[in-house]
Each structure stands twice: as C-alpha cells, then as structure tokens.
C-alpha cells in the first residue's frame, strides 16, 4: 500500500480510541494479550473533535474525564476521541501515556523504573521500556483491527458502540 494510501486510513486512530473507551467500560478494561493480561483505565485527559471541524475540539481534564457529562455529550454530538490518557498495568508493571489518535504520537509517558548498574545500562533499559509501551499499544490496536476488519464490526461491535453512546454510559 502506497504511503499516501495508508495515510488515508488514519481515521482508524480516532475509531480505535473511541472503541478502547467503549471496551474499557463494558469489559472493565481487561485485555488478554500475548504479553499477559493488560488492565487499561482511561486517565485524566480526553480530547474529542468533530470530524471535519478540527477547531471544534472539546477537552476534559479531570479524574475519570470519560465519565463526565460533558465528554459523553460530546460523543453523542458526533465527536470522536482525538487524544486520551491511558493508565495501563501488566502484572507488576505500570505504564501511562497520552496517545494522539491522528499520528499516534505518545506524550508524557511514565514507564516502569530501570535498575541498570551504570548510565549506559539504564539508558538501554529505558529504551526497552519505551518499546514495551509501544508493543502494548500495538497489541491493543491489533485487537481493534481484528474486530474492525471482521464481519462482526458491522453486525455487533458498531451497533453496540452506537447504543453505548446513545445511552450515555455511567456519566457523573
């Protein structure tokens, strides 16, 4: 697939983060991945934008912003998730980061501590932690793609997300 063609699929980023929000609420945020069972909780930041209106963004910064009435109202108004902070736990390890939907930029990541004996070892370990974080995000995205590309998307998943948005979830 040519470069310009794959860029035309970047809408998948917003769909992915919206799906992730939905799955976190209906499944309790547990995802069985190759790396182990990953727990995901939405953190203290979510940005929603209307397709085709990048200036009409709606940002909520507070504890559990996804449960706020404002965020849920933005979803019902047709906005999609453009960025979200994720808190993730894999066994004893914790990761958190803000993910941009459009270019998959990672911001303000917090990674598990490193223990190397010297600066060189610690630097390499830090980089390995970055790769671990990206591998987890890739694994979540791959799970989304497996649903998105299957007949179950139109038959089950999409109607379920639409109903969840319509019902407004457990807004505070």
């Amino acid at each position: 697939m040519a470069g310009h063609a794959v860029e035309q699929l970047d809408f998948l980023g917003r769909e992915f983060l919206t799906w992730l929000w939905f799955r976190c609420e209906v499944d309790g945020g547990l995802f069985p991945l190759e790396q182990g069972e990953l727990g995901v909780v939405l953190g203290d930041y979510v940005k929603l934008v209307a397709p085709g209106d990048e200036h009409g963004e709606h940002t909520v910064r507070r504890e559990s912003p996804h449960r706020s009435r404002a965020a849920r109202a933005a979803l019902r108004a047709g906005r999609q998730v453009a960025a979200v902070r994720l808190e993730m736990a894999l066994g004893e390890q914790s990761f958190s980061a803000t993910i941009d939907a459009d270019g998959f930029a990672v911001r303000s990541a917090k990674l598990p501590p490193v223990e190397g004996a010297d600066e060189r070892e610690r630097s390499q370990e830090r980089m390995e932690r970055v790769e671990e974080l990206d591998d987890l995000l890739d694994a979540l995205f791959a799970r989304f793609l497996s649903v998105r590309l299957s007949p179950a998307w139109e038959a089950e998943e999409r109607p379920a997300i639409e109903a969840w948005i319509e019902q407004g979830g457990a807004a505070d």
Binding site: A70, A77, L145
Partner: protein, 213 residues
Amino acid sequence: MKLPSLASHVRYEVSGRPRGGLGGIVARLERHRFVPLGDDVEQEEAWGWITLEHLLDVQFRPDKIELGPYVVFGLRRDRRKAPAALVRAHVRQQELAHREATGRWLAARERRELREQVRETLVRKVLPSASSWPVVWHRGAACLWFGTASQRANEMLVGLFRETFELELTRLGPGALAARLLEGDEQAWASLARLEPTAFVAAGSRPALAASA
C-alpha cells in the same frame, strides 16, 4: 552517554538498512553534523546531527552512538530571531524621530526598509536558542523513535534523515501501523484497503453541544 527521555515520541518505519554498517552511519552523521549559525542574518535556523553527549558534541564515534541494538544520536536546531515586540518598538521610535525631524511620516516602502534594517541590527545581538531531541534507530526492527511530537521538528527529521542516509522514514500513524501489523495477511490487507470511516452517530441525530468543559 545518557539517553534523554523519550516520554514524548513519534515512531517511524525505516525503508531499508544503511550501507556501510556502523562506520557508514558515523561517516554520514559527520557529513550532516550540526553547524552553528554564522554571520548571515538571513539564516534564522540551523539544523543538524549531534551526539547525545551534549549539545556541542559533533565528534561521532561508534561507541558514542551504539547502545545495544540501537543507534542513538540527536537532532539539534538553533533558531535566531529578533523579538517581534522589540522590532516594533524600535521601528516606532525611529518613525516618530523621522516625523519630528521632517514633518512627514515614512512612506510604506521606507517603513518596510526600516523594519528590515532594525531586524538585521537586532538579530546580530540575539543569541540563538538551541533545542535538541533524541533519535533512536533500531536497525534490526527497521524502526526509529524521535523524541518530540513537534510537527516542524518531525518534518525536519524526515528530510535530514533522507538526505543523510538515503532512506525514507514513514511515520507509524494509524494507517501505516495497520499496514505494518497486517503485513503478510493478504485477506486482511485487502479488507484494510476497502475500509471507510465509521460515524458512530448519524449526522441527523446529533444533539447540539453545549459550551466546552
């Protein structure tokens, strides 16, 4: 060598492997190393590669850039710009002086020339502001991490990387990452190419949105 934080980063796929191994990478980085801004006041920015030792180090050696399976270096940008408010103030001061001396205001062309003179004078007095961001390249995985999401810095990275290594960087945004993850699965690949965006809320049924939070 200490790898700076990659708390914020963007990932790229690298189009191939560099020629000449680690020695070749060192030589290419040397050729495109950071060179500070000179006396040319027209040049507002300078970009180039540095080592991760410190901002001033452009003496590349294999042991400075190799970190396990990674090749690590930095992209430095210096920017020199006269503060806009100060330019306006100096122009105004000289405009008023001219008005008092001659009894007339400057013509538009004279005012543009004065602004340029003021800008050039001030630029000579301004120290450049320096920024740098880490670049981490995993040659085996054909993957590269860049330590900022800044659009301008990312555009410069892609251009300078191409110029330096004759390799292309493709940002692993949603579309490119999907293509990478599904590589080899022809059925999924074909489905991917046919995808259309999903609107979870039909346009006609969207309620008006109250003020932002």
